[in-house]
């Protein structure tokens, strides 16, 4: 009883001092214990005062990096309240309205799509492929265990995003010099000094989900290679970003 009594865990919970299992159990308890929820909110506010007392101005470059990343990150929709009145009269009618709205939208979109189909097909495919790639990397960026590391060179930066849980990595280049005609940036996983090809990025600003799994790699390297890429790096890396 004593060690399992969840009421006394509010302090350890608020300071993130619980292990994952205890934390999950305590959060389930919170749903049924208004006084615990109240105390946890008060402790969060108290600790915020301890945190705010440590305030330190972050480097100016961080602001630019954060603001530049916003357009690529999909925001979550507001959660729908669990007690929403979806079982009432409205709910039975809602699907009909929703279906009608969907049909209207589809018809409108269809007309536009047909009109633009011929001249824009390839451009649209390219844009869609780009958007998909961006989404893949964004999804990685929002993984709960996502980590990032940034390295700078020649006025540009390369940021590696990785998630151990998803076993994947992505690369975001911003303002690297253009690779030049017939050249491309090539990404590599660094397997203890052996470079494993991980994809091509033909521009100095762009996003790439790396080919292949992390597989215990120590980091990511970037080299300049002939268009089409190489089996092994042909020169010194432009960037080396270690994981960790």
């Amino acid at each position: 009883m004593n060690t399992l009594d969840p009421h006394t865990l509010t302090g350890a919970y608020a300071t993130h001092a619980l292990g994952p299992e205890e934390r999950d159990a305590f959060e389930r308890h919170l749903d049924h214990c208004p006084s615990c929820a109240q105390e946890s909110a008060e402790f969060a506010a108290t600790l915020a005062r301890l945190g705010a007392a440590e305030a330190l101005t972050p480097p100016e470059a961080l602001r630019a990096r954060v603001l530049a990343a916003l357009p690529g990150i999909r925001q979550e929709a507001p959660p729908v309240a669990r007690t929403a009145p979806t079982r009432g009269r409205l709910a039975r009618h809602a699907p009909k309205f929703a279906l009608a709205a969907c049909l209207a939208l589809a018809l409108g979109a269809g007309a536009v799509a047909v009109q633009q189909h011929h001249e824009a097909e390839s451009a649209r495919d390219r844009a869609a492929a780009l958007a998909r790639r961006q989404e893949d990397v964004t999804a990685l960026l929002t993984a709960p265990d996502a980590r990032t590391a940034t390295a700078a060179t020649a006025g540009g930066t390369g940021t590696v995003v990785w998630s151990a849980a998803r076993d994947r990595a992505g690369f975001l280049a911003a303002g690297l010099p253009a690779p030049g005609p017939g050249r491309t940036y090539q990404l590599w996983y660094d397997d203890a000094g052996t470079m494993r090809p991980a994809g091509l990025l033909p521009t100095g600003t762009g996003t790439l989900l790396l080919t292949g799994a992390l597989d215990g790699a120590a980091g990511v390297g970037v080299t300049l290679e002939p268009a089409g890429g190489s089996a092994h790096p042909s020169g010194a890396p432009v960037l080396l970003v270690p994981f960790g």
């Binding site: 945190g51 603001l67 979550e76």
Partner: protein
């Protein structure tokens, strides 16, 4: 001399964070920039205090602020103010970072160092903003018993789990757990916090 008079939270002349956050939910990037300016100092300071390494602190701060942008819709005004919500995210991410596998060896060294004395809350960070707030927090920390204060500061400022705190302090798990709670209740009352 050591009597502490509870004070209300300092008046913040800054922007209305709830209003900014409600605009952020709608995708307003300008509102997010204003929110960034209001919360990035506390976020970076807290993360830096827990993580220590400047480069890693910057990375974690970036991750925190992008999480705020992504999950702004999860904020519930009835559960408290915006800054505690943001700093809860910041603290969780900072703690995750110091507990990650790469930090394991480093942490062992820190645990060893902590057992040889040193008062965590007494260290001075450079460029401190809000000196008054800092003074008040320190005064209130001094009203705690030693075990309450150490349990709280090792967990909050160093990111120790409570079994780690128990090990460092040589105290039973149950004791550490209740001391953390007792310490927070005293801090809450001393700082005049209501949620």
């Amino acid at each position: 001399m050591s009597r502490v008079v509870p004070l209300a939270a300092p008046r913040r002349p800054g922007p209305d964070l709830r209003e900014l956050l409600s605009r952020v939910v709608r995708g307003d990037q300008e509102a997010f920039a204003a929110l960034y300016d209001a919360v990035s100092g506390p976020v970076f300071g807290l993360v830096r205090r827990v993580v220590r390494d400047p480069a890693q602190s910057e990375e974690v701060t970036q991750e925190v602020l992008l999480e705020v942008w992504r999950t702004a819709a999860r904020y519930r005004a009835e559960r408290g103010e915006v800054l505690p919500w943001v700093l809860t995210i910041a603290h969780r991410r900072a703690v995750d970072r110091v507990r990650s596998a790469q930090a394991a060896a480093d942490r062992d060294r820190r645990v060893a160092a902590a057992t040889h004395g040193g008062t965590p809350y007494d260290e001075v960070a450079e460029q401190v903003e809000g000196r008054l707030e800092r003074e008040q927090v320190r005064r209130c920390l001094k009203t705690l018993t030693e075990l309450q204060r150490e349990s709280l500061t090792l967990a909050y400022y160093r990111g120790y789990s409570y079994p780690e705190v128990a090990q460092v302090l040589g105290a039973p798990l149950g004791t550490v757990k209740t001391r953390m709670r007792d310490g927070l209740i005293r801090m809450r009352d001393c700082l005049g916090v209501s949620a």
